[in-house]
């Protein structure tokens, strides 16, 4: 490839990426997700602790975070007087307030988060918490379900068991008089933190 072409490719790629962030944000906000662009994982951890503090919540869980990030969160929790719950979370199911997890892909078109939830810890954290804070590297945003079809199929075609979730906004119902109500069984709030400086 000649240098000139490379520049063009780069520009288009940049444009596409910004566009995807914009679509992802718009669509996610439209279904009630609270979206923020955040510059680093450290800031995301701080965001989670601040949010918990602001809401006067006591406990957090962070399944799937690497040990370094987990330790940083633990320190932040301790200094704010909160508990970072131990796994298995099943034992603390009734006291879980807020969960912080990674997300595998964002689907911009519908503001959807795709999360491989094979681990029971991930499932419990994202289902039972009052607030779910999801971290997504911007490089993992795809346009629509068609653009994650191959990735999802790779998971499903394996001979092993799997549990993959598309999450779009907080839990909702309109079962009484067709009036929309949030947080019937799952999280009452869904926060999406788009993390800018992550590499794919």
């Amino acid at each position: 490839m000649r240098p000139r072409d490379k520049t063009i490719f780069y520009r288009e790629h940049r444009m596409e990426k910004n566009n995807l962030i914009q679509i992802m944000t718009e669509k996610a906000v439209a279904v009630g997700t609270i979206v923020h662009e955040i510059s680093s994982v450290s800031n995301a951890l701080q965001y989670a602790v601040d949010l918990n503090k602001e809401k006067h919540l006591k406990t957090m869980a962070c399944p799937g975070l690497d040990s370094e990030d987990r330790d940083r969160l633990l320190d932040l929790c301790k200094s704010s007087g909160m508990d970072l719950l131990e796994e298995p979370l099943r034992n603390n199911a009734s006291s879980l307030d807020t969960s912080l997890t990674w997300i595998d892909f964002g689907i911009a078109d519908t503001g959807t988060l795709m999360l491989a939830s094979d681990s029971e810890e991930i499932r419990i954290a994202t289902m039972l918490a009052k607030i779910h804070i999801a971290m997504l590297p911007v490089s993992k945003i795809r346009l629509n379900t068609g653009s994650i079809e191959a990735d999802l199929n790779d998971i499903l075609k394996k001979d092993s068991a799997s549990y993959t979730a598309f999450i779009t906004g907080p839990s909702r119902t309109a079962d009484i008089e067709r009036v929309l109500a949030i947080g019937v069984h799952g999280p009452v709030e869904l926060h999406l933190l788009l993390i800018k400086d992550m590499q794919p």
Binding site: S94, N153, A165, I176, R178, G186
Partner: protein, 717 residues
């Protein structure tokens, strides 16, 4: 426990009760209007028609191979640790599930919403076996507390008000509940049900997709209870109909584009979950979940081989056929289905729950085509409902009186027309020579007195024809008129107006005298043989090759003469009948005046507001929507839209006689909207609708005048 009326008398009683339920009436009427209003914005990003046809085609390609797909699913799911069962009927499915529960020493069961489990009455069975079963979908929990079946496939408790829900919750929690605040009611459910999830030994779900090439289940939900149901208990059983099998993920993702949009107006639901095999479960000693998938046949495999009814297996349970149905919006789901609700329910009930439960409800379709238009898998629901009715009659083994009469009279044109002419004399004591019959004999007035009835004309159009027909030397076009019974015997003046218009354009019109009723009333009564015999008579009467067009001023006739004639002859598979030559030449009045006659803009402005009623068989049957509205404006009038212009007027031919209590309620809403528009004149282009609307407005003594479009256009120029 669901108790569906098994005869017309008790069905009518239930209908009258429902019509008196003011909450139900206003809630469903609002829903019907809101759903249709919201629809264009839901589909602004994707093309509904293209996707619908693609999904229908994909489903059709799979339906003959459901057993093969099942084997493929089983193989793939088993590799990931799931145990796959197949149940030939509801009883066997329930037995399998109870056995799994017993083998795993289950006591408490939680369920997420599953229409398939409703179909098998699984809860009743499990409770009788001593298990404690809790529904966790909010709507399902509510109806479980009320000991009722769902009244809608997506919103099971849509028939209940917040106060009724509050009462149930107060009884359940033994404490005061703030019924006014729906958010608080929802939180009661969250609070009450959360411990049930944590205590349960087994979770039962349905599934929206069973993907064969990976053995994965796909579930489309909003509340999050399904995720908890499949995660917290140590055993998971999914009960899945064979019709949920798709070949691959791509097929499922395509359906996922339409299902939430059509069901709830969402681009996607809050949760879509893909579950394969036995996942991690830390409260099982093995560390893995006990995972079972039970596939339910219950008549599906035999349906898949039926040349007519196989299309009903395309259904993805979005519930939209109920959302847009004018009858559902009046009577509610418990009077519009057995377990499955809405148009598809009137069909599936026969196959899943037998003729006794379908006998009465299957007759309650007005054939307005609203369901067909929104079906995301292109099921010809109104047609299948009539086919189902025909099958119910066949299974019953005795012909209803109406059908006996239709067959005897309608096949014989001369006898039929003799009876219509005799009716002119018979009605004299009621009409007293006036064009409207305002009061019926006492015993009929109560049910049928909601509209004035038009009187039969003294001389039908066919007898006037010799004296009024044009004989043009060098006509620019030759057309034949298909009058239809209403124009011929009730509104011959519409024929005169037509001639007035066409003469100016030098168009020769013939009236083939051997023409008879189009046959739609026979088809609506599931009198298939008669409908076909009539079709043959009409095709022979017209000698279509002589004409440029066959024009009809009745939208219902036009739609029947084209689409239904094609269906009749295609299904009969009889070669030799060249129906295409006939059906291709049929044209409705609005299309003819706009496209062939090229009715031009008048330079005179008439200071009168005209609103329009879109006949079902014109706007949905023939997809003619812009022409009549444009013609009103071209004639110099001020077109003033009214709300829900394209909703049925409640006529439906003999429907308004069979179900006058519903017909009058549909008409009432229509007339309210018309009067609210502030129009001076209401125009429509179907004599059936003219009859209903004119009759209703006359009874109200409304100043709004009702005209067939031909009358409006003939007035000017």
């Amino acid at each position: 426990m669901i108790k569906t009326a098994q005869d017309m008398k008790s069905y009518k009683k239930k209908i009258r009760q429902a019509l008196g339920d003011s909450f139900l009436r206003s809630a469903l009427d609002e829903f019907n209007t809101a759903y249709r209003k919201n629809r264009p914005s839901v589909y602004k990003d994707i093309d509904f028609n293209i996707l619908r046809d693609a999904i229908a085609e994909n489903k059709d390609s799979l339906i003959p191979f459901l057993e093969i797909l099942f084997e493929e699913f089983k193989l793939n799911a088993q590799k990931a640790g799931a145990i796959v069962h197949r149940a030939k009927d509801a009883r066997q499915a329930n037995e399998i599930i109870a056995r799994i529960a017993k083998e795993n020493k289950v006591k408490k069961i939680i369920k997420s919403k599953s229409m398939t489990a409703e179909e098998t009455f699984l809860n009743d069975y499990l409770e009788k076996q001593g298990f404690m079963v809790t529904e966790t979908d909010l709507g399902e929990w509510i109806i479980q507390l009320k000991h009722e079946g769902p009244s809608h496939m997506v919103m099971p408790a849509i028939h209940l008000s917040r106060y009724q829900v509050g009462e149930l919750f107060e009884k359940q929690t033994d404490s005061k509940v703030d019924s006014e605040n729906i958010d608080k009611l929802v939180k009661v459910a969250r609070h009450e049900l959360r411990p049930r999830f944590l205590e349960a030994d087994m979770g039962i779900t349905g599934a929206n997709f069973a993907i064969a090439d990976s053995g994965t289940l796909g579930m489309v939900t909003n509340e999050g209870n399904m995720r908890l149901t499949t995660t917290l208990p140590r055993v998971h059983v999914a009960l899945v109909g064979f019709d949920k099998l798709v070949s691959d993920l791509g097929s499922a993702l395509n359906i996922l584009k339409l299902l939430p949009r059509n069901a709830t107006g969402q681009a996607i639901t809050s949760y879509v979950t893909w579950i394969k095999g036995a996942n991690q479960s830390l409260n099982n000693p093995s560390g893995k979940k006990e995972m079972h998938v039970v596939f339910l046949d219950n008549g599906r495999l035999s349906l898949s081989r039926d040349p007519v009814f196989y299309t009903s297996l395309r259904c993805i349970r979005c519930g939209a056929c109920a959302n847009v149905c004018p009858i559902y919006s009046k009577v509610g789901g418990h009077r519009y289905g057995h377990v499955y609700i809405g148009a598809i329910g009137l069909i599936l009930t026969l196959f899943f729950h037998g003729k006794d439960n379908d006998r009465a409800i299957v007759r309650n379709c007005i054939n307005c085509q609203a369901c067909k238009e929104v079906c995301p898998v292109a099921i010809d629901l109104p047609h299948l409902i009539k086919k189902t009715y025909a099958r119910v009659i066949k299974e019953e083994g005795k012909t209803p009186v109406k059908n006996f009469f239709l067959a005897k009279v309608m096949k014989n044109r001369k006898l039929f027309h003799f009876i219509l002419k005799s009716a002119y004399l018979a009605q004299q004591p009621l009409s007293k020579g006036k064009p409207m019959i305002r009061h019926l004999p006492y015993f009929l007035e109560k049910d049928h007195g909601f509209r004035s009835l038009p009187a039969i004309a003294k001389t039908p159009l066919r007898d006037l024809w010799q004296t009024i027909s044009p004989k043009l030397e060098t006509p620019s076009l030759r057309i034949a008129l298909f009058a239809g019974c209403a124009m011929d015997f009730i509104y011959p003046s519409h024929g005169k107006d037509l001639l007035k218009l066409l003469k100016k354009a030098n168009i020769q019109v013939d009236f083939p005298l051997d023409q008879t009723c189009c046959g739609l009333p026979a088809m609506m009564a599931a009198e298939e043989k008669t409908a076909k015999a009539i079709a043959v008579q009409n095709i022979q009467a017209f000698e279509a090759e002589q004409y440029d067009y066959i024009l009809t001023l009745c939208a219902s006739c036009a739609s029947h003469l084209t689409h239904n004639y094609e269906k009749i002859f295609m299904e009969a598979q009889e070669p030799g009948m060249d129906f295409k030559l006939f059906t291709d030449k049929i044209i409705d009045f609005s299309s003819f005046m706009d496209k062939v006659y090229k009715f031009s803009q008048t330079d005179q402005n008439i200071n009168k507001k005209v609103t329009y009623h879109a006949p079902c068989h014109l706007c949905r049957g023939l997809h003619v929507t812009e022409e009549p509205r444009a013609l009103i404006q071209k004639a110099g009038y001020i077109y003033t839209p009214s709300r829900d212009e394209d909703v049925c007027c409640g006529f439906g031919g003999s429907y308004s006689v069979d179900f006058p209590e519903i017909s009058s309620e549909i008409l009432k809403k229509k007339l309210d909207n018309i009067e609210a528009s502030g129009a001076d004149i209401l125009v429509t282009d179907c004599p059936g609708c003219v009859m209903q609307l004119k009759g209703g407005l006359d009874k109200r003594q409304s100043p709004v005048k009702v005209l067939h479009l031909v009358e409006l256009l003939a007035k000017k120029k």
